[in-house]
Amino acid sequence: MISSDVIRGYNDSFLLSLLNEGDSYGYALSKDIKERTNGQYLIKETTMYSAFTRLKKNGYIDSYPGNVTQGKKRTYYRITPEGKRYLKEKQEEWLVTKQVVDQFVGGEIK
């Protein structure tokens, strides 16, 4: 499992990219992250809600109360146009980052 220190800066992008595919709520998002990484990365509750708070503050996502399912009223999140722009920036940044990191860390172990 990946240590959460390494990945810290990417939580926001993970959530944004998932929300870019459609509105969703806390548990579904954390489950998506777990499944897509085959269980290699787990986002903790507080980490996820910190990210929501940050993204909301920056205007990248909105929240709205969803319908009651299984007796629970969930808070849904949706990406804003600004969030989409930000996600695009992040994607471009990642391409560069990947190249840079690869130059040093990407080689075979000798």
Partner: protein
């Protein structure tokens, strides 16, 4: 499942309660419960599932610093309970029961007196009637007084509701709505109560003016009708009062300390006026009237009128200082 609930509540205990943090608590709790259900569904034991869910909770401080929340007022909030919907409903129901039982207690006492009166009049010549009348009176008195004492003691249980507590805004709206809705029932109850009290004169008049009833039986019936009328007052009055108590003691968590302080100040002012201001006026009234004597008594009472006017001025002065 309860352990998870407990865990989250425990962690959030030090977090100042606002609409935002309350929603956060509910969201996180819902996520954890979903996760738990799924783990159980996949064949995990209860212990394993709880372990995993709690391990994946994370660190609340991380979240709080992101939200810009500090734990500073946690202490005051911990000293004051938060009333949730269930607690509010419980209070209103308890007050309604108190109203009903107090009303029944009073009715029982009046019924006892009424029965005794009618037995006495039914044939005061017969010894047995007098004895039966008095026994009935005593039985009804015991029931009535017991009801009143029990309700008096139960009122003690409701003490927390008479001190400041945290009431979230949407629940406050709900209570205000209920109070408004109850106003119609209250008005109807008062009308019915008053009607019974006025109607209660009928048997008395029948007893006094005709031979259909003896005067004492008429009086007894009047007491019983008054008792029924009083029940309407105590029941609906208590329910209406319950809403008032909740709305005045339930504070918005975001201004909790300010509101409690403001109320303490108001109480202090009331205390000063009741315990110092008015006694001084009474002393001045008597002292000056006795010293000057004679005709001054004819108009020295005006000091009370002036005192009343001045009281309003003083109170509003204190209010503007705040």
């Amino acid at each position: 499942m309860n352990i998870i609930n407990e865990y989250v509540n425990q962690v959030f205990k030090t977090v100042p309660l606002t609409e935002e943090t309350n929603q956060l608590r509910l969201d996180i709790l819902a996520n954890m419960e979903d996760k738990y259900d799924e783990l159980i569904g996949n064949g995990a034991s209860e212990h394993e599932a709880i372990g995993v869910v709690i391990a994946e909770f994370g660190n609340i401080d991380e979240l709080l610093s992101e939200m810009g929340i500090e734990k500073e007022s946690a202490e005051t909030l911990e000293n004051h309970p938060t009333m949730e919907e269930g607690a509010i409903d419980f209070f209103v129901e308890a007050k309604a029961m108190i109203g009903l039982r107090v009303g029944l207690g009073i009715l029982s006492i009046l019924l006892g007196v009424g029965l005794m009166l009618s037995f006495l009049s039914a044939g005061s010549a017969i010894q047995a009637n007098r004895v039966i009348g008095i026994i009935l009176l005593l039985v009804c008195l015991v029931i009535g007084i017991a009801l009143l004492i029990i309700e008096g003691m139960r009122a003690d249980e409701l003490k927390p509701y008479h001190q400041p507590f945290v009431l979230l805004a949407d629940l406050r709206d709900e209570v205000e709505h209920q109070k408004k809705a109850y106003k119609k029932s209250l008005a109807l109850s008062i009308v019915l109560g008053v009607s019974f009290c006025i109607l209660s004169l009928t048997p008395l008049l029948v007893g006094a003016l005709t031979n259909l009833l003896s005067l004492l039986t008429g009086l007894g019936l009047m007491l019983v009708l008054i008792g029924v009328g009083v029940m309407f007052f105590t029941y609906s009055g208590n329910v209406f009062n319950a809403y008032g108590v909740i709305l005045s003691n339930g504070k918005d968590p975001e201004h909790f300390e300010e509101e409690v302080k403001a109320e303490a100040r108001r109480k202090k002012i009331d205390y000063i006026i009741e315990e110092i201001y008015w006694p001084i006026i009474v002393v001045i009234y008597f002292a000056s009237s006795f010293i000057f004597g004679g005709s001054i008594w004819a108009w020295s009472w005006i000091i009370f009128v002036l005192g009343g006017a001045l009281e309003g001025t003083i109170k509003s002065l204190f209010d503007t200082w705040e």
